[in-house]
Symmetry: C2
Subunit: 479 residues, 2 copies
Amino acid sequence: MPEPKTFHMTPDEFRRHGRAVVDWIADYYERIESFPVLSQVKPGEIRASLPPRPPDVGEPFDSVLADLENLILPGITHWQSPNFFAYFPANASGPAILGDLLSSGLGVQGMLWSTSPACTELETHVLDWLVEMLGLPQKFLSSTEGGGVIQDTASSAVLCALLAARERAIHSAPTQEKWNGKLVVYTSAQAHSSIEKAVKIAGMGSENLRLIEVDENFAMRPEALLRQIEADRQAGLTPCFACATVGTTSSNAMDPIREIGCICRENKIWLHVDAAMSGTAALCPEFRWIQDGVEFADSYCFNPHKWMFTNFDCSCFYVADRAALVRTLSILPEYLRNQATDSGAVIDYRDWHIPLGRRFRSLKLWFVIRHYGIEGLQFHIRRHVELTQQFAHWVKEDRRFELAAPAPLNLVCFRHKSGDEANQQIMDRLNRNGDLYLTHTKLNGKLTLRFCVGQTNTEARHVAQAWKRIQEEAESLQS
Amino acid sequence: MPEPKTFHMTPDEFRRHGRAVVDWIADYYERIESFPVLSQVKPGEIRASLPPRPPDVGEPFDSVLADLENLILPGITHWQSPNFFAYFPANASGPAILGDLLSSGLGVQGMLWSTSPACTELETHVLDWLVEMLGLPQKFLSSTEGGGVIQDTASSAVLCALLAARERAIHSAPTQEKWNGKLVVYTSAQAHSSIEKAVKIAGMGSENLRLIEVDENFAMRPEALLRQIEADRQAGLTPCFACATVGTTSSNAMDPIREIGCICRENKIWLHVDAAMSGTAALCPEFRWIQDGVEFADSYCFNPHKWMFTNFDCSCFYVADRAALVRTLSILPEYLRNQATDSGAVIDYRDWHIPLGRRFRSLKLWFVIRHYGIEGLQFHIRRHVELTQQFAHWVKEDRRFELAAPAPLNLVCFRHKSGDEANQQIMDRLNRNGDLYLTHTKLNGKLTLRFCVGQTNTEARHVAQAWKRIQEEAESLQS
């Protein structure tokens, strides 16, 4: 008698299809340079190729995989191409992908220690490792009153930091009147949009966000911050939270954390340091100057899913005082109560972020650190910085171009001297052509091209070829 | 000459290690019933087995995989065991795991349409499919003013719904004074803790959250809701947002959405329907009564990562009016501007949720729907409900036990009649023993056992064995 139909994929089928998928991914990386980096489809084109109705009965796995190849791939912008120089990297690597696969396979929930102790403890452990690896202050270690947690993104991390700061401000106010809903938030005019988003989400009012002016290098002016704080105090407002950036998204500007930190400490302002992409550079001692003064920070965040070969999502968030964070986000209904939580001996990470459920994300980070070792990670960060500096050098040497900002690490902001239209044309042509992908920003009101090196497999030849192509487009501009 | 050392995992190494990981997962599912479902480790035990310092040099992949087996596995609570009946399911399946693996491999960012058009369009497409599959109102289709998006969890979804409601309330207020920060939020006393968490995050004040009383079946009393709304209006407050639950976490109670919806509509209150686990049941027409009245909802959420064989995270969130949501969450800095966004012809999902970056999560959902087809999904949902009803029947037939609440779908709340201590003892013994895992809640102040069926591979024999074990513990209680 035949087995009754179960519809499930059996373990043996999983082995077979799993191998096919692993091979597909390996093949993908081997042929990735053959695709245009930026997808060339038009809005609606991918949807139009998909059947309008969901399938009534199941389909063979092979047809699904074939459709991925034929229908989905044309709509992919290849973030893992070594010719991807746009936005920021979101780099992946073999060990990360396989660690993440194990997380999917185990399918555990890490909302409480007790719902999978290893999920919580490995996360705490690896985040402690990173404190040492990056030279961060000891107060971020889990053995202190602080500690680290993996968030999905730096946007969520800054929101949590802001909520904890709000909690601390309200909690420490002698009377309700003292703050009266008028908490003020400070960041630079070049900071990431996620800070404004967080202020809006937290209901603190966009009108209470101060975008502090920047200097000629696009870094926050501490004296302008101080002036604004004093003005706000005089206006009866309560300065509450500041976000300093280690490597702004637009131009990789480095806010002077030490000076900002001193001002924040004197004014009892929560200092959050957002080092989303550039924080990874601190793996190398010679780049640790970027975080000089980080000991003043109440919270800190960097994203291994940007530049540390760990596929999205994996943003590491540290606080010096976990109590403020947990007080804001903790709600303990009966159905989540358990002995371990009641004992107070464990961390329940659900109280450290917005969602309740959580994935076993530390696995992929653990796999990456163990695969590369500190040595391997440092090697590639140094290599990316070196390639970027080479590119910056070429730009400087070419009379048609100019650097638009300092290039301290792995991002070059530059422009053709002929103005916005020329730069737009160079960018559009390169991106339409598909050999490489780069994006833009505006600095001092001028359209500026951004060239960011950080994809896992980017090598000297890719950067050299990119510069050659940029030069060619500059040529054809003149013709 | 030897190749210079790159530290990266080559495509060929990825093939080899990838196969090992796929086999490890297949083996894991084949032997999963041999593990105690609830991890038996003590706090700190897993960490103590890990090296205190990160590795200076890289390690072979095989040792990492061996450590997963030897050091991590003992700290795993096996959510994918067919003997897992705790909390709620967070079920996974072969096609989901492989779809997710492809998402890791492609490593694209879906924050904007242009950063990978297929990532946005497949998501929109599959979420439209689900509107049809679940019999949801047409206003949630992307072809209308509404549409769907994948969030990480129902907690984030309800936060987004609340923010959109707050935006609409402020936006539509003729004067600032009209609402004056005094927006009121309604949900039942049995609703999920995420609603209170959202209210706190949004800075709307826990004191403005009303937990409406429930009836004898733990469902919200509409007349009590109406009374409270009127009292709040008379007190000069502005009713803003209500969350009705299709299947509460505690006892699977079904709030009467139609009656609540009528009240909300008359009072211009945003109605969010949280169907996190139970929503999946609507795949079967005979269970659609649970969402009767959902056409009154302004937003709706259910989690394929609970009961629809799609591994975490995957929470589907729909709004009837996307403008309110996007207005709240949209901030467009220069470095994210692009032609497609400016044209208005595309969806940029970054404006539909808290984070900026986003993973290609629709791939796994697409794989699941195509692998099972509507037929296969319905088959398993029906089977889970049938097994649960069998269990409820056994409870009713046993004089020592009683049902503590109606069991409409896949959750049975029951208790031993001897009181809290007996129930605690039964639960602790079962969980310590490891044959199965179940958790508790409190209903009418009494400790109540929860038995939730929904893991992918749970079959009749697992449920029968669980009931046998529960009976045995009840026996030993009496001896």
